[in-house]
Amino acid sequence: MAAAWKLLGTGMGFLQSSLPAYRSSLGVVEQVRSYYVDWRMVRDVKRRQMAFEYADTRLRINAIRKNTILPKELQEIADKEIAALPRDSCPVRIRNRCVMTSRPRGVKRRWRLSRIVFRHLADHNQMSGIQRSMW
């Protein structure tokens, strides 16, 4: 019982804090996103995680490859090693999709949103500091 209270104190008890139909203070019912939008987004998430795992190894092997000091035999071996790594470990395969709709194109990097969602939120005054421009 005491341990349960400790958990609450540390905030670990928010395992199911996002209840359905969560009503924010503004009176707007936000979407409950407990799933990824589509499978492409899921695969993109996997690629990102794997890229994070192999980032150090790739960096080191690439440092050996992109080198004029070491002998070429060593660099060829390094080429083969890096090609043997799993294909999803390379960061090139990551696509910056829209966070809300998983749209691969028209995504503004700062907000991670596609142009359509961005425009929708900005018109409803959900984007802080965004204003319709006219000059």
């Binding site: 019982m1 005491a2 341990a3 349960a4 209270w5 400790k6 958990l7 609450l8 905030g11 670990m12 008890g13 928010f14 395992l15 199911q16 804090s17 209840l19 969560y22 009503r23 924010s24 203070s25 503004l26 150090d56 190894t57 080191r60 440092a63 050996i64 080198n67 000091i69 070491l70 002998p71 070429k72 035999e73 060593l74 071996i77």
Partner: protein, 432 residues
Amino acid sequence: MRVAIMYKRLLNIYQVRNGLIHTQNTRLPSTKCKEKERVAPVIWTMGGARPLGTSSIFFSENKESSTSLSEDNEKRPEENEANAEVNNDGQKNTKINEGNNISNAMLTSQLETEPVVKLEDSKKFDKTKTGKESLLELLGAMKVEVTTIRKIRPPKFPRVSERPDPKPMESVQSMFQHATAEVSQQHETLIPTLVAAASAAASTLPNRRQAESELLQQLRKHEAIPDTQRRADGQNIGDIISDMKVGKKQNGRSNARPSSQIRFDEDGQGYTQDRGITGELDAVRTRKSPFTSKRLNIFNAGAEQDSLSDLGPTLWDIDLANQIVQATNQTPRNGFEEMIQWTKEGKLWQYPINNEAGLEDEASVPFHEHVFLEKHLDESFPRQGPVRHFMELVITGLAKNHHLTVQQKQEHIAWFRDYFQQKDNVLKEAEA
């Protein structure tokens, strides 16, 4: 305990007689002492003036009781019954009346001659005022036993009621007969002084006969039981209770009838259906569960809790915390609380922005471990050659990197070490 009280009372009387305790005339018992009031002044003069010498306490107590008895008897002129017995006392009293200074020898001699039985036979109807006052003082000074333990003793002193005696003028002869009848049975084993004190105490109470009989009975009990057993009264109760058998409610088979027997309803019209043995099972179930019966104390209750507390939050604790969170509905009421919640979760940075938010430990690492990394190169790296050149470049790059911890840099260098050790043959072939 009662014996001690009685002895204390007698001692007090002794002291009163000696004039050591100064009691006032106004301290009178409530209603029954009207007759005593009359004789109060006389008693005082007598009581205060008699010197007592080196007689032992036993004798003095004896004398006290006897003199009190004698005085009582003497101060009741309407009493005719105990003339025969009072004669002896009357002689003492006359002597007392004659002179205030009485020699001890005379008193002691008179005490010795006096038969012991007379003390018990003489029935005091009203104690003298000094005796009663002293008794009251004693009663007032007595400490009240404040215990919740109920003792199996009948009340020693029935409550002193305010109403006057219903029969103050009982026939003397009847009382005398009662006294002799009672006392003759009881006088065998009791100490005479205690008996006298008991009778003196009983005289102050409304029901003299009852009180005296009860007191004497208690005296007998006390004489019979040794002192050690008296202190174990509670244990005696416990023993008695433990010896008693628990009477079980004989309800088990009250509804046992042959199943083939037809049982009618209440009004006798229809038939009741077969109930089976549910009735008996209910009786069985109503017995005490294992949690209500007496504790056996086989296992140590607190021993297990210590080990459990060290394990940390169990799954049940986590589940309970979840339930509490769901029940209390801690959704933020406004934007501020929402931001607080996100900060706790880690979604929001802590303000003011700290560039080294997750790198608190690195602040204590000295700078030379970041910058001077050649010491790592000296082990298992060749001193010359392309490898060394390459590694020096790596080290300079790591030294200039502000975003890596020392641990990460060392990991980089270690990886290269392992890699070049694996590729040793390739490097030698390339050199050749």
